[in-house]
């Protein structure tokens, strides 16, 4: 294809000085919006983490007063400080909800799609900067609505982040009224925000690439974020629709999910997971893309099999639409449908294998630099593999029978989401920190944080596979009331200790992050010797990015190429014009 991007060059070059409010609060600059998303979603990550600690307290030490628990209102906690069963279920629900919808999704998509797409494709900003700003404010609004659930009578919903009906559709079953409504409303608002964001990302990638930035010169991070945006645009409206029906069942007395009047409980599950599985790929594809960039950089080698990496992303995204039923194997869904979903699910291992082995291929015969982003990226590859492989167990329908809805699933969730997405985020945050704030995060602290997290994380989540095999169900308040689970309690206790350590270790990261804002070492222009377009700009980059639309001369991964050697370095940025390079055609060719 000869499509060569021609970028919009509206009056971007001259920017009058703006008031603080316009510059940092109601900004339409994609970089500021990305940073706003970063702070907000790190806050929600912290909220999710605090909820997780209370979950772990209860699972490790049931019927023991929780330290500091007494400050919670009596709808949550018994007078002696023991967590109430209602509260436990709410903790689990809100932990899942916050982590998925308000921590990882905005961290990956809100922050990095915003921040990276224009910078990496040589655009001046998003296609629709104003809509972009709205997307952020709606996401924040949604998060606050969700958070408000804790402060209304009876608290937040009690039916898990998957919000299965009829539990969630009938307040007499869940015991929650306002909190349930807030959940639905928040999800609708969040969906709106995501759709607005995704429309922006898609349009920007299609229309605003700099001259020379052909489709197959785009970094894999941009590819992944682009495909993720497509998933977002098509998946979130379905969740919105479902949440609206749930809301109406609660407030208008409709009967969508009310079996007595002919409604269907499975309908919710179909709708939720039809959204839900693409959603989990929304949570992993951007991570994969950014990790690809970082691994190529850390290995000083071109990415191994760039094209198949692109097709693997597309393949995962495509297959992601036809596997949702693997969450419903035990739901009473037609078993024939179960067989179909099993096969499509297993096939996802194939593009995933391409990705994993191509990352290894990239490192093969490289010249590895173990900077903090690289360490976390390697952590990502090794841990995502474990999470993905545990998915194979559950994908095989007969094996899912004993494993479904046990802690084995919880282990899978955290291996893919913490070991996968969150490690990738540690990598990405460290990697693009200088671009955001002009300073480096402390590498020593970063390494300590990585190693401690890596160990504590495995100690926390690996044993969950075993207690899950032993049969411990998810979302149960007190495993010790089952005789067959009593012998496992020491392991639960062990997990809790490890989880507390894991949580504490994250404050190293928080400290490093906040401290470096002010005291970090000043970043050189291209701190990681990288090839990306973003490093042609000063750190942090000015509003409007480039004064003049840049040209792109080559692919993103030209590390250690002969041309680079000739220049006496081992990298050759996309924006560098060698004497042999011709300028790309400026206007769009169709």
């Amino acid at each position: 294809m000869t499509t060569v991007a021609h970028s919009r060059t509206d009056a971007h070059a001259e920017h009058a000085p703006m008031s603080f409010w316009r510059k940092y609060i109601f900004s339409t600059d994609h970089k500021i919006i990305g940073i706003q998303f970063l702070f907000v979603s790190l806050f929600f990550l912290l909220v999710g983490g605090i909820l997780a600690m209370q979950i772990r307290w209860q699972l490790g030490f049931p019927n023991t007063p929780m330290p500091g628990g007494k400050i919670l209102p009596e709808t949550y906690i018994a007078s002696n400080g023991v967590i109430l069963p209602e509260y436990y279920v709410q903790l689990v629900t809100m932990h899942g909800t916050f982590m998925i919808f308000f921590a990882i999704m905005p961290l990956l998509v809100g922050v990095y799609a915003n921040f990276l797409i224009p910078l990496k494709i040589g655009a001046h900003d998003m296609a629709f900067p104003r809509i972009n700003m709205w997307s952020f404010w709606l996401a924040l609004l949604a998060g606050l609505i969700m958070l408000a659930g804790f402060f209304v009578p009876n608290g937040p919903p009690r039916c898990g982040w998957t919000m299965y009906v009829p539990c969630s559709a009938r307040s007499d079953l869940s015991g929650v009224t306002t909190g349930q409504l807030l959940w639905s409303v928040s999800i609708v608002v969040l969906g709106l925000s995501s759709v607005m964001g995704s429309v922006n990302y898609i349009t920007t990638v299609i229309n605003h690439r700099a001259p020379g930035m052909t489709w197959f010169r785009m970094p894999l991070s941009v590819w992944a974020l682009f495909i993720t945006a497509i998933l977002g645009v098509l998946a979130l409206p379905v969740l919105q629709g479902a949440a609206i029906m749930l809301l109406f069942d609660n407030v208008l007395g409709t009967h969508f999910f009310d079996p007595v009047a002919g409604g269907q409980a499975l309908l919710w599950q179909h709708l939720f997971w039809f959204f839900g599985h693409p959603e989990v790929y929304i949570l992993i594809l951007p991570a994969m893309g950014m990790v690809s960039d970082i691994i190529a950089n850390g290995s000083r080698k071109p990415i191994f099999g760039y094209h198949s990496m692109v097709f693997a992303i597309i393949g995962i995204a495509f297959l992601g639409w036809i596997v949702w039923g693997h969450h419903m194997f035990m739901s009473g869904m037609n078993p024939t449908l179960g067989s179909t979903f099993m096969v499509s699910t297993l096939l996802i291992a194939v593009p995933s294998a391409v990705k994993v082995f191509n990352w290894m291929g990239t490192m093969w015969r490289g010249n590895l630099r173990f900077h903090v982003p690289m360490l976390n990226a390697i952590g990502f590859v090794s841990m995502f593999t474990i999470g993905g492989l545990s998915g194979i167990f559950m994908a095989a329908t007969p094996v899912d029978i004993p494993l479904h809805d046990t802690q084995f699933i919880v282990a899978h969730i955290h291996y893919v989401l913490f070991g996968g997405s969150l490690f990738a985020l540690f990598a990405a945050i460290t990697y693009w920190y200088p671009k955001m704030f002009g300073r480096m995060m402390n590498p020593g602290l970063g390494k300590i944080h990585f190693w401690l997290t890596f160990v504590a994380y495995n100690l926390t989540f690996f044993p969950m596979h075993i207690i899950g095999m032993g049969g411990q169900m998810r979302r149960i308040y007190d495993p010790t009331i089952y005789d067959f689970l009593k012998p496992q309690q020491p392991l639960n206790e062990f997990i809790s200790y490890a989880a507390f350590a894991l949580f504490a270790i994250q404050f190293l990261f928080a400290f490093n992050f906040l401290w470096s804002l002010k005291f970090g070492q000043k970043a050189p222009q291209n701190p990681w010797d990288d090839n990306g377009m973003e490093w042609s700009l000063p750190n942090p980059a000015p509003h409007g990015n480039w004064e003049r639309t840049p040209n792109v001369y080559r692919g993103p991964y030209e590390f250690s190429s002969p041309e680079a050697e000739a220049r006496g370095s081992d990298f050759l940025p996309q924006y560098v014009k060698l004497p042999t390079d011709r300028d790309p055609a400026p206007a769009a060719g169709h």
């Binding site: 499509t3 060569v4 991007a5 021609h6 970028s7 919009r8 060059t9 296609a127 629709f128 759709v195 995704s198 429309v199 922006n200 898609i202 349009t203 299609i206 229309n207 605003h208 690439r209 001259p211 645009v233 098509l234 979130l236 409206p237 379905v238 919105q240 629709g241 479902a242 609206i244 029906m245 109406f248 208008l252 007395g253 409709t254 009967h255 969508f256 009310d258 009047a261 002919g262 409604g263 269907q264 309908l267 179909h270 709708l271 222009q525 042609s536 003049r548 639309t549 840049p550 040209n551 001369y553 924006y575 560098v576 014009k577 300028d583 400026p586 206007a587 769009a588 060719g589 169709h590």
Partner: protein, 240 residues
Amino acid sequence: MTHATQTVDSMRPPFPAESGAGVYSNKLGMWVFLASDVMFFTALIGSYIVLRFGAPGEWAKPGAVLNVPLTAFNTFLLICSSVSMVKAYAAIQDGKKYFLRPVPGKTLRDGGLKFWMLVTILCGAAFVGVQLIEYFKLVHEGFTPAGFRDGSLLAEHAAADPIKYGLAVAGLYGSSFFTMTGFHGFHVTCGVISMTYLYFTKVLPEKYSPQDYRGIEVIGLYWHFVDLVWIILFTIVYLI
């Protein structure tokens, strides 16, 4: 550090020729949004289909509960507004910014952008109005999102002829009817509001020209899409 950038401004075509899909960003963005809206209506309409297939009883006969002639008229209104929208688009392409202008030798005068946009807005608003009347009448007769209201007129009819009125699944009927048509109506309302806004900020001040009528084209896409959804809804909700 070589920036190695080169300006391309000199070669910038006069009008929003943006690359990639070969369409300017607003239009591309609107299409992507419409794709996402398709998925939104898929959730609602799909649920209706699934519920109706799985319903424990017969659905009400067409026309038993709903007022089909009234809605047929409403359909007509929406079709008219769609064609007036596309006429507005054609008018501005030809540079007709005016309201009405006499044509020599003809009694009918030629409509310009201002005329056709006004017709579109009025038809759209009328649609919403008729839908509101429909809702009020239905609720008054006893058809609510929760089904037939106890003691209402419709509840009595349904008790007398449960098959015709689909008594067994009235709850599902009410739920899906009001949700689907309600969200469609919401879309129409949004369209009317944005078109009115454009009318006063852009159409009346004659901001559009044959060189740049992006706003008209983009809102037109949205408007036709809403019409398209109604065509589907009218058939599967009122006639089947």
